[in-house]
């Protein structure tokens, strides 16, 4: 870590729409990320590694050289727990262990100190990965993404492992989606496009904002589709209290700074960065926060470079 205790990195996944539409190559993504002011990167292997799932030493070495060229630190190699790749059965525990071990070896070869995995790894497998982490000297962290939060049963088990047998190697990657308070602009546009009448949607959002219970809101004049969407708004925008960060930060090696749409470089209307970032700092977090723009799930035509620059501007106010 350089002078500041908290630094900004970016997940290359933020540039998904530009990459998939072949506006940016992998190297373009790195150069752009560097130009926006980020110091390190995360790569989602299943997205940007052409030889996935088994990249060659040659590819991994060349990627490492690209990172050196753009003075970007390798921060996180993101892996999936793809239980469902076979049509006849789910992958076995042993297959998940071996595939995760593969990802850790590839990450190490490319210079990454951390692999991000998914909560579906299970506490039993996660514990079995500890000796592999120690031998390779690489961290294996689980992303906590909406709809999870620290009080979900399985997370209590994970957090215990992170504090005990896996201390120093296992950890959580909190994703700020758990703190989303209201739908972002791109989702609202999707809801309207899917047929939610504007007047009704405005009313639902107003009642949700005023914490009117779901069963009351459902008494509005809503059709079946609008009811279904209303339920999903209430389910999704039910944020984890920011105070829960005190449970997570002691076992957090890396953070996903999720965002969907920024109107300006001042504030995120949906995820309260103005409260989250000071709290993270107060709790003594040292490490990277990765910009993780995810608006491309809703709209592929947004100016993502502009979004990432706004993100840097907002975060710089607090870290």
């Amino acid at each position: 870590m350089d002078k500041e205790r908290i630094q900004l990195s970016a997940s290359l996944y933020s540039l998904s729409s530009y990459y998939i539409k072949e506006i940016f190559s992998l190297e373009d993504c790195l150069r752009e990320i560097r130009d926006y002011g980020f110091k390190g990167i995360e790569i989602v292997a299943a997205q940007m590694v052409p030889e996935y799932p088994n990249p060659s030493d040659k590819w991994l070495g060349e990627f490492k050289e690209l990172l050196d060229k753009y003075e970007l630190k390798p921060i996180c190699y993101s892996a999936y727990i793809d239980y469902g790749i076979r049509s006849d059965r789910d992958l076995t525990e042993e297959e998940i262990i071996q595939f995760t071990l593969n990802d850790m070896i590839y990450a190490k070869k490319a210079g990454f100190p951390l692999v991000r995995t998914q909560h579906s790894i299970s506490p039993a497998i996660y514990e079995k990965m500890i000796p592999h982490c120690e031998r390779l000297d690489i961290k294996l962290a689980i992303e906590m993404h909406h709809p999870h939060h620290p009080r979900v049963d399985v997370w209590e088990k994970y957090i215990e492992l992170m504090h005990t047998k896996g201390k120093g190697y296992l950890g959580v990657v909190p994703d700020f989606s758990i703190f989303q308070v209201r739908p972002h602009k791109l989702l609202v546009e999707r809801l309207l496009k899917a047929g939610f009448r504007k007047e009704q949607l405005d009313r639902v959002l107003e009642l949700h904002e005023n914490k009117v219970p779901l069963n009351e809101t459902l008494k509005l004049d809503l059709n079946a589709l609008e009811k279904e969407f209303t339920e999903s708004i209430y389910e999704k925008f039910n944020p984890t209290p920011i105070e829960e960060l005190s449970t997570l930060i002691p076992v957090t090696p890396y953070i996903h700074g999720k965002f969907y749409y920024l109107e300006n470089g001042e504030a995120d209307e949906c995820i309260p960065y103005d409260r989250i970032l000071p709290e993270i700092k107060r709790l003594g977090y040292e490490g990277y926060i990765a910009a993780e723009y995810e608006g491309h799930h809703f709209n592929m035509d947004i100016d993502v470079p502009g979004q990432l620059r706004r993100y840097v501007s907002i975060c710089s106010k607090y870290i």
Binding site: S16, I20, Y52, I81, I85, L225, H297, M300
Partner: protein, 143 residues
């Protein structure tokens, strides 16, 4: 209804349809498709692959799926859990049809039902039904 994962538009890139020849016989045509997502997948996650050309459904037995330099029957796709489809790569659907397609525009519609392999933790996998229709041009290249 799924409001995110809006990638169906990627299924059919704007690429020409190409007639396929064996010697001096034109035996069919090839349409390029991409995997409609932000990440790659394993071919075994494709649960259904359907094609309509100018409003007419193409029988599965007249289709071949070509990826990573290998050619498969549509009925084999479910077995291909070791065949990764990189998100920037195009696969070819080769349709067997005497004399191929006429030169000019054709309405192509592809439907792919595909399982998202990391989403099974609540017991059921998210299965997306992606459809994309475009007017594409057939050029009578020798290929």
């Amino acid at each position: 209804m799924v409001l995110d994962f809006q990638y169906d538009e990627l299924l059919l890139p704007y690429r020409n349809i190409i007639n396929k020849r064996a010697g001096d016989v034109c035996y069919g045509y090839a349409i390029q498709i991409r995997y409609p997502s932000y990440r790659g997948t394993f071919v075994s996650c494709i649960e259904k692959l359907e094609l309509q050309v100018d409003g007419k459904s193409i029988p599965e037995s007249d289709m071949r799926f070509v990826l990573n330099g290998k050619e498969f029957l549509v009925s084999q796709l479910g077995e291909l859990s070791k065949e990764h489809w990189f998100v920037l790569d195009t696969a070819n659907i080769v349709v067997l049809r005497d004399n191929g397609l006429t030169e000019g525009n054709h309405e192509i519609s592809v439907r792919m039902v595909h399982r998202i392999p990391y989403t099974g933790y609540f017991g059921q996998y998210l299965v997306l039904d992606s459809v994309n229709t475009k007017t594409l041009c057939c050029r009578n290249y020798i290929n």
